[in-house]
Amino acid sequence: MVNNSRNEKSASRRQFLQTTGAAAATLAILPDLAWGEVLRLAEPLAVAVIGVGRQGRAILGELQKIENVRIVMICDVDAARLRSGQRRVKGAEGVADYRLILERGEVQAVIIATPTHLHKQIALDALSAGKAVYCECPLAQTIADCRALAQAAQQSRMVFQTGMQGRCNPVYTLANSFKRSGAIRELISARAQDHRKMTWRSAGGASPAEQQARNWKLDPEVSLGLAGEFGTQQFDVVHWFLGKYPKSVRGTGSVRAYDDGRTVADTISCSFDFGKGLYFGYDATLGNSYEGQYEQIAGTMGLIKLAWSHGWLFKEADAPTQGWEVYANRQQFHNAEGITLIADATKLASQGKLQAGIGLPFPSLYYALAAFVKSVAEAAPVACSAEEGMRAAIVGICANEAVVNNSEVLIDEAFFKIEG
């Protein structure tokens, strides 16, 4: 049978591109990349991945696209997951104890994709062992842990990157340059959502202790909830675009979808106060997947909508024409700065012509890992530092606290202070 997913993709893109009455032009933001070229390192780089659950295995898949990266070791405490990970990588040695990786001299860099509350110790040990570190987000479970890790990373000579994918994403960086050049003018508000249909429950684990460990996301002692686990990535995008951090956050949450005895909310809503009347609204749920994950930044001249593999700029009718737009009447074009603009994206979408095929040639995760690998192998600047990771995680931790207590939490500047 032949794949018919094209119609599915058209329908969801159409859903996405609902213009407001005032929006005069919709432009799809697509950077002109050396189309689909993978990163190639001049010298081989030996890496190891610690934690090969679903995210860890996705990391294995993306790393293998980069030429001259060798995944020499992988680690997981669960034997079945470890075997699953080994099926993803030919020739990687599998271990249950991450310290064996840190002792191995040939390993130059480690990627940490364990449960959040285990990040700190592993990352500190890895830095002490002289390894470069890519640490999945949120950075750590508590404000104190985040600060300790950021401090250790700053004091170490090693490359440390937090796995927040927005800052490495070419659509997002291009959109950010539009925003900085005034494309949307004065900021009005921001909103973001993460809608998924999943229970977050993990099967397996032979003993009750193992089952509890596997279900750490549903353990209120340990979990940062939807705000911390899902939201942090998106909060960081908003911080980056707004150029500042929120002063406080209000939150609420409830269990709406899964009546299985859990207390960690499966549906949440947060409102962040950036001061001077600038608010960012966020909602997340495990109970409904409509429109998935996106962030949007609204300004007086337009709105930028970002959905990881795609981005759009919705311009207001009274927005002035930007230099590059003079040429944007044609459907596709390349200008001097190497930007491809697809004008009239709405019309194309309604005709089913704005295909899923237009969009980034690699998943977001690939760009974050490629940036890390470049930093380690070629001394490229770090795309997302430990400090930026710390700040985003602290905001996530505060948001989760607000949700859990149905309250307002102040985000004190002092939280971001790194000692020494």
């Binding site: 049978m1 094209r6 898949g61 079945a80 299985d260």
Partner: protein, 327 residues
């Protein structure tokens, strides 16, 4: 008995899973079912050629330039595709991406060269030492539509088995079905009906029933979406040997035991059989085939069943004038 039912939307269709187990709780079953569903969704992201960021899109863009690394399971899937291509003398060929592009099934695709159509599995090289795939020619493009659903079921089934589930039914768009164990009310296995939607108005007419117990079933038919390349009407399955769309009245189904990559194999073979129109001589007995045709009036008429699991296939009592050949 504890049950879980789930569905995921993937590969242009709806996958459904039903799990039963006396030994586990419903919460557990739901969690396992979700993991199996997540496996299917991940495969859709990696194998869809309609996503720019999929592995297949990357292969179609770059495999003629440099080899692309595959993981062990995916490499094995490509090896099954090669095996079926060889044993069907080219009736099944995943390198039909180019003609599909030319004839308007996908706006997006690397290699479609303004009408020039390039097909040929011999241009695709699988290198087992490095576990890589590469193309000998630019312009080649793969489409995994004839095999991906089966592969997704195999991967999802593996998740269930690893979790200790012995009793489950999974299907992908009703065109590929995996039956593990048997349902609580029927020891003989999961009962799956193949019916002819064209004859649906006739009530129970035109139905075959297959009993799946640790077995897989894949069904293909030439009907469905039409293309009109140069005014030639055809269905959405391509004959890679011509290459043109397969027109005509055929349908084919394959039943095999549920071993490793069984659904992958069955999916590929059911596609090949629709193109071939008959079971090839020398096909292993472990692959049970049902090949049939419709009469000029559009009704199901003759069908032929052949293979080790023939006894699992029965005609509905209302089925008219079957001609059965059992080995």
């Amino acid at each position: 008995m504890p049950t879980a039912r789930l569905a995921v939307q993937a590969m242009g269709t709806r996958f459904e899973l039903v799990l039963y187990s006396e030994a586990h709780s419903e919460v557990f079953l739901r969690a396992v079912g979700e993991e199996a569903g997540a496996e299917i969704e991940e495969l859709e992201r990696r194998l869809s050629r309609f996503r720019a960021d999929s592995l297949v899109a990357q292969i179609n863009r770059s495999a003629a330039v440099r080899p692309i690394r595959l993981d062990a399971d995916l490499f094995a899937m490509f090896q099954v595709a090669r095996q079926v291509q060889e044993e069907s003398a080219g009736a099944f060929d995943i390198t039909v991406g180019s003609p599909l592009d030319s004839w308007g099934f996908a706006e997006w695709g690397a290699g479609a060269d303004g009408g020039k159509v390039l097909v040929g599995m011999e241009q695709l090289v699988l290198e087992p030492e490095e576990q890589t795939i590469y193309f000998l020619q630019e312009g080649l493009a793969i489409d995994l539509g004839g095999i991906a659903k089966g592969f997704a079921l195999d991967c999802a089934g593996e998740v269930l088995r690893a979790a200790g589930i012995r009793c489950a039914l999974l299907h992908g768009g009703t065109s590929a079905v995996l039956g593990l164990g048997s349902p609580p009310n029927c020891e003989a296995g999961w009962r799956v009906e193949i019916f002819d939607s064209a004859a649906a108005g006739g009530g129970g007419r035109g139905k075959l029933v297959v009993q799946l117990k640790d077995a897989v079933l894949a069904v293909s038919a030439a009907g469905g979406r039409m293309v009109e390349p140069e005014n030639e009407l055809g269905g959405h399955i391509f004959d890679p040997r011509s290459p043109r769309a397969v027109s005509g009245a055929g349908f084919a189904a394959v039943v095999t035991g549920a071993g490793r990559l069984a659904a992958t194999l069955a999916d590929a073979w059911s596609t090949a059989l629709v193109v071939l129109g008959e079971r090839p001589i020398g096909l292993a007995d472990t692959v049970t085939t049902i090949v049939g045709s419709r009469s000029a009036g559009g009704e199901w008429g003759l069908y032929t069943v052949c293979g080790q699991l023939s006894s699992a296939v029965r005609a509905d009592p209302n089925f008219q004038n079957p001609a059965q050949a059992e080995r």
